[in-house]
């Protein structure tokens, strides 16, 4: 097990937290030192709240040793379903239910493939293409624009963006799920050693199925939020979003191989990736040398450094 009780382990943890704290501080200062129209910052954060919701749901999947590469395609597919059903003049609640159902089915299909023994990487790589293809075909490659006001009026609740409430609720829900339920404990056990978990009578296939399904539902939620915020659903949307989502989880300190990590770490990871990305883009406006391409270098290096650090931490705790 990875529980660290020895004092060098504790110190290592504190150092790790310190480094994450510094990265977050750098990101935040980069952003806030350059803001000229603070009110507009909310619009900058909203898309990252969507990535954040996906990262929170992904944390559980990664914890139990899985991964979901199809999450971006699932969001696009759910957006298309929302667009089509509203175009068919379905009542809003039915359209929303269909969207949620689409996310649920897409997630459950992923979970089913993994449960029957496919590698999560291969299974979700395949469904990434499959769901994108479905979204493109169902929509005829057309975007859906102009959602009804009954949906759009949810953009803000009591003056605060709906994204905020959803992000907080998903954060709370995943925190309770991962850290305070039996399903959550099973995640760690399976991620740590699947064979051992099986011998301990942990129903690993059912856990897989439920986690991927929840991930699909989170994707449907993001699709609805995106439609509300941008007033458009594009079959081509969220291409490559899975990389940002996984980066948030990994930079936060959850092991990509599973078994170690948590929701709080992912929250920190979301904060770091979001503000470093925004901050670097802000900087590239001041310093032409910092081109969009060199920004990729910075983000790539960051993930490599964090991965090395995590690996060392892992080795250290194994020895302890």
């Amino acid at each position: 097990m990875n529980r660290i009780d020895s004092s060098p382990g504790q110190l290592r943890r504190i150092a790790t937290l310190g480094i994450r704290g510094c990265l977050l501080a750098i990101g935040l200062t980069l952003v806030f030192s350059q803001v000229q129209r603070p009110a507009a910052l909310v619009d900058v954060w909203l898309p990252w709240a969507e990535i954040g919701i996906l990262a929170l749901a992904m944390t559980a999947v990664i914890l139990c040793g899985g991964i979901d590469l199809s999450v971006g395609s699932t969001v696009a597919l759910c957006g298309v379903v929302l667009g089509i059903t509203l175009q068919w003049q379905w009542p809003l609640t039915f359209a929303l239910a269909a969207t949620a159902g689409c996310g649920l089915c897409a997630g459950a299909f992923n979970g089913g493939l993994v449960a029957i023994g496919l590698s999560p990487l291969v299974a979700t790589l395949a469904t990434m293409a499959f769901y994108r293809g479905l979204a493109m075909t169902l929509s005829g490659r057309e975007r859906f624009a102009g959602f009804p006001d009954s949906l759009r009026s949810w953009q803000t609740v009591a003056g605060i963006p709906l994204h905020f409430f959803c992000f907080v609720s998903v954060g709370l829900a995943t925190w309770i799920l991962i850290h305070h339920t039996r399903l959550g404990r099973w995640c760690y056990v399976i991620g740590d050693n699947r064979t051992a978990a099986r011998f301990a009578a942990v129903p690993d296939r059912r856990v897989d199925l439920s986690l991927y399904t929840l991930n699909g539902i989170a994707a449907a939620l993001v699709a609805v939020l995106h439609a509300i915020d941008e007033n458009v659903a594009i079959p081509d949307a969220f291409r490559g979003a899975e990389l940002q989502v996984i980066a948030c989880v990994v930079v936060g300190g959850t092991l990509i191989t599973g078994g170690e990590g948590g929701v709080l770490r992912t929250l920190i990871g979301i904060g770091i990736v979001t503000h470093l990305e925004i901050g670097l883009r802000f900087l590239s406006y001041r310093f032409p040398l910092l081109t969009p391409n060199s920004r990729l270098i910075v983000i790539g290096l960051l993930v490599i450094l964090v991965a090395i650090w995590n690996q060392r931490l892992q080795r250290g705790s194994d020895n302890a």
């Binding site: 060098p8 110190l11 290592r12 150092a15 310190g18 480094i19 510094c22 990265l23 501080a25 750098i26 200062t29 980069l30 030192s33 350059q34 803001v35 000229q36 129209r37 603070p38 009110a39 507009a40 910052l41 619009d43 900058v44 909203l46 898309p47 493109m136 490659r141 057309e142 975007r143 624009a145 102009g146 995106h226 915020d229 941008e230 007033n231 458009v232 594009i234 079959p235 081509d236 949307a237 969220f238 291409r239 490559g240 925004i278 883009r281 802000f282 900087l283 590239s284 406006y285 001041r286 310093f287 969009p292 391409n293 990729l296």
Partner: protein
């Protein structure tokens, strides 16, 4: 010992943070007086948009403006929307954008306008109603481009003394790009009106990715032995289509043409794979966009035909600024242009 390295690492990070902060505050007070303009292509890193950047920078230097030219590295609409928000937050005065999707950035542009930013589109338009953009800087009338693409193909094939009847393929860019889709509409219209024997296969959308464009064209060539002609209607898809055709040794049976940059096409025009193709001057398009942005912000953009900087005949009418008619490039004039 180990602990020390960790604290050193943390200290280094803090030091980096301080340096960056000092760097930011140092460069905060710019000396340029004009409006601060942000210009966003569909994506960065392809030759066509590098050429427009060159023209934009030329105009910015001429007018003494602060220009930032940046965009997503994939043709993703949501990245564009995000970046518009960031530019608004940074306090830019004018945002000129070439939208990947005509609806995808409407809300972002509206938010920017509410914060006091002047917005315009260039190269390809956003939905004028939902986005509220001030003007669209258009390279050439869409109708002229669509018709020209079809005419070039038809005349090229007829000049070889062959009949037009057969299958034709369009290799486009992004599935929802407004300019490419509009050109294809006009191409279909022209084919129906003038060359009804030309039959169009379903078009391809390789997402402005050269590798994918080449693979998809190669597949289409393999699947249709009777393919008569291919249009590559983006600067990326035409050279890719030309390469696929040459590699398949079908250049003598398949007439390849479309839209691209002379610099991208030189090789294929010289070896005869492509006889002629269509384009406007992208450097001039970038140059014009900055001039229009500056005039819009100053509130003195007038209708009618006029000179803007070194461009003599710019047409401004009905929410559009038009650069001029499209040009034809062939073996004779391909070396005359540096873009």
């Amino acid at each position: 010992m180990r602990q020390n390295t960790k604290f050193t690492a943390s200290a280094q990070l803090i030091a980096v943070a301080c340096c960056i902060l000092i760097g930011c505050s140092g460069s905060q007070d710019g000396t340029l007086s004009g409006p601060r303009i942000g210009m966003m292509p569909k994506l960065i890193g392809i030759g066509y948009f590098e050429a427009t950047r060159e023209g934009a920078e030329e105009a910015a230097a001429e007018l003494g403006l602060e220009l930032t030219y940046d965009g997503p590295h994939l043709d993703r609409s949501e990245d564009q929307a995000q970046q518009i928000g960031e530019w608004t937050t940074l306090g830019l005065d004018v945002i000129a954008v070439a939208p990947v999707d005509p609806e995808g950035i409407s809300e972002a542009l509206r938010d920017a306008q509410r914060a006091g930013v002047t917005t315009l589109t260039w190269d390809t338009d956003a939905n004028p109603e939902t986005s509220g953009r001030s003007v669209f800087v258009n390279q050439a009338p869409n109708e002229a481009i669509g018709y020209k693409l079809v005419d070039v193909m038809a005349e090229g094939i007829q000049a070889k003394g062959e009949s037009l009847a057969g299958n034709y393929l369009i290799v486009s860019g992004s599935a929802t790009a407004s300019n490419q889709n509009t050109w294809m509409e006009y191409m279909k219209q022209r084919i129906a009106d003038k060359y009804p024997t030309m039959k169009l296969l379903p078009h391809l959308t390789p997402n402005e990715d050269r590798q994918r464009a080449q693979e998809q064209t190669a597949e289409a060539l393999a699947a249709h032995a009777d393919l008569k002609g291919i249009w590559g209607i983006t600067s990326v898809s035409l050279p890719a289509a030309a390469k696929a055709t040459r590699d398949a040794k079908r250049a003598d049976q398949v007439y390849v043409t479309g839209l691209s940059l002379p610099s991208e096409m030189r090789e294929y025009v010289k070896d005869g794979t492509v006889e002629q193709f269509v384009l406007w001057n992208p450097v001039d398009l970038g140059y014009l966009t900055i001039h229009v942005a500056q005039r819009l912000h100053a509130g003195n953009l007038q209708s009618g035909s006029q000179a803007m900087g070194r461009l003599k005949n710019v047409e401004v009418r009905g929410g559009e600024v038009i650069l001029g008619p499209p040009m034809i490039f062939n073996r004779e004039n391909i070396d005359d242009h540096r873009f």
